[in-house]
């Protein structure tokens, strides 16, 4: 999502990249002098005497361990460029998923699907996160000069200080995209519309609706991505797909209820629920503040079309 990733390259040494020498981690531990030298946080280039005094194979930057745990202090070197942002150095912490039981893997996926489904069922749970994310995006837009229809001179200069609470990165990580929701909901929705269809050609309606929904969702996702911000194509696809859930309820109810008026009221309620959920989710996932309406409008149009299809069949 939109969290800052650590930059682990020192611009002073980036040009000297030569991975041919030290791809293999040496069996022996580097001598004590190297680690002591690295602690001084001075790049080795500036002390050639010190570097030559130690073992010449053991260049401290090209050592494998220096890639996994960089000892270069980036916050000093990048200070003139990244004026107010913080630069953190993090170890690779991908975790090991090879050895875990299959049940644990499934459990993790189901848990993440559940969290995204809950954010659609109870969208208000995201409102605080959405507010903070929008503020961050405003800072991003100001720094990169995106046209948002806002005069940045009028906005207070210390946007960074206005922020009341910082977001926990894990909150965003939980809402990371997947395509389970869109797949299941679109499949169920097309089955229901196919069953509802008055003609005998149920399978044609099913396949037509299934394809049509995927294509329109792809167009919507491209539209959202072109509008800018930090949202990705699949993130937009996932968000709009999960927010289809309320419409699925409305479609299920309309199997049993044939009254036009009841169906119409359900249509209004559930479509607005879907749109509200999609709005908050898109805000969290990184649509720029001045363009929320432009991003959500086509989504609402498609939801309304799908809902209307359930009302009239």
């Amino acid at each position: 999502m939109s969290g800052w990733k650590p930059v682990s390259v020192d611009p002073n040494e980036a040009d000297d990249f030569d991975l041919g020498q030290d791809l293999i981690e040496p069996d022996v531990e580097p001598p004590q002098s190297t680690s002591a030298k690295a602690k001084t946080s001075q790049p080795t280039q500036q002390n050639p005497q010190l570097a030559s005094s130690s073992d010449h194979n053991n260049n401290s930057f090209f050592n494998f361990t220096s890639f996994t745990a960089p000892k270069i202090d980036l916050s000093n070197t990048l200070n003139p460029i990244l004026q107010k942002e913080q630069v953190k150095e993090l170890r690779f912490s991908g975790g090991d998923t090879l050895d875990e039981p299959v049940w644990k893997t499934l459990q993790r996926d189901i848990h993440s699907i559940g969290i995204k489904l809950f954010s659609v069922i109870w969208p208000a749970s995201l409102s605080k996160l959405a507010k903070v994310q929008q503020h961050n995006l405003l800072i991003y837009a100001r720094n990169t000069g995106v046209n948002l229809g806002i005069n940045y001179d009028e906005v207070t200069n210390n946007l960074e200080n206005d922020i009341s609470s910082t977001i926990d990165d894990s909150d965003l990580k939980k809402l990371d995209w997947d395509l389970w929701g869109p797949l299941v909901f679109i499949l169920l929705f097309s089955v229901i519309v196919g069953v509802l269809s008055p003609t005998t050609s149920n399978s044609v309606v099913f396949s037509g609706v299934f394809t049509l929904i995927w294509v329109t969702f792809a167009i919507i996702a491209i539209n959202i991505q072109l509008l800018g911000g930090t949202i990705s194509f699949f993130s937009a696809l996932s968000t709009t797909g999960y927010a289809l859930f309320p419409l699925l309820i409305s479609a299920t109810v309309s199997i049993f209820v044939k009254l036009f008026l009841v169906r119409f009221l359900l249509f209004v309620v559930f479509v607005s629920w879907s749109i509200y959920a999609a709005t908050l989710n898109l805000k969290v996932n990184g649509v720029l503040p001045g363009r929320i309406f432009l991003a959500i409008y086509p989504v609402g149009l498609v939801y309304a079309t799908l809902g209307w299809l359930c009302v009239i069949t």
Partner: protein, 251 residues
């Protein structure tokens, strides 16, 4: 994600670029006029905000307002043509099925109305076709055949045509109310009123923006008759389009 790291990189690179530019003030790079993030070809045509979108729509519906002369350099946005036209297609579909539903409901007849996918595909090809084909034709003929100087860019013409479609949305909703009347005469009056409002206002919106440009370009290239020919062709095309929309409304 790959996308985010790219975004990060662009912002990072743009800052480096700014540093080399050496701004006078500290805030100078914030409101920089040349938009540095819009380097992507697609994003250039979607670089609008909600407020600009609404003002474009209002200026195309309110044809009596003073028209600002468009300039040849403007790119225009493609968000409007795509989604305004999609809205109109949806509302035409909604209006057509809604009118039948209302009529059935009020007259108490039990026959179920089956919607027709030909309505959907017909509306899509008519509206998107008119919004894209006529501007391409206009642009190609003016720029490559008559070699007019100072003509609008293609995307700007598409943008004008797309936003002009917006008036069809209220017109189609008006047409839906004909479902309240089982009387054939009143419902046909309502239908004609809706069609005339839609066709008239959208045509006026297109011409009020395009005609000054065409006139200036024709005068600049010493061909006074050209503007009359353009006017006649554009009006005829628009009348044909209006009749097409009417046939979709009653399908």
């Amino acid at each position: 994600m790959v996308d985010d790291s790219e975004k990060l990189l662009t912002s990072f690179e743009s800052r480096l670029w700014i540093l080399t530019k050496k701004p006078q003030r500290e805030d100078d790079w914030i409101n920089n006029d040349d938009d540095i993030t819009i380097n992507n070809n697609g994003e250039r045509y979607f670089n609008i905000t909600s407020d600009e979108f609404f003002s474009n729509i209002f200026s195309s519906i309110n044809v009596l307002s003073k028209v600002e002369l468009e300039t040849a350099q403007e790119t225009g946005d493609l968000y409007g043509p795509i989604w305004v036209t999609a809205t109109v297609i949806f509302i035409l579909f909604f209006s057509n099925t809604g009118a039948h539903k209302l009529n059935n409901w009020l007259s108490g007849s039990d026959e179920s109305y089956e919607y027709d996918f030909a309505l959907f595909t017909g509306a899509i090809s008519l509206l998107y076709g008119y919004t894209v084909v006529i501007p391409i034709f206009l642009y190609v003929v003016s720029v490559f055949y008559f070699k007019l100087i100072g003509f609008l860019s293609l995307t700007k013409i598409v943008s004008i045509y797309g936003y002009a479609n917006s008036v069809w949305a209220p017109a189609a909703i008006l047409a839906m109310f004909r479902g309240f009347f089982s009387n054939g005469f009143i419902s046909s009056v309502i239908l004609w009123a809706a069609v005339l409002i839609g066709g008239g206002i959208s045509g006026a919106a297109i011409l009020s923006k395009l005609y000054p440009i065409i006139r200036n370009a024709a005068v600049a290239s010493d061909n006074g008759k050209l503007k009359t020919i353009y006017l006649v062709v554009l009006i005829l095309a628009h009348i044909g389009f209006t009749i097409g929309v009417r046939s979709i409304l009653i399908l």
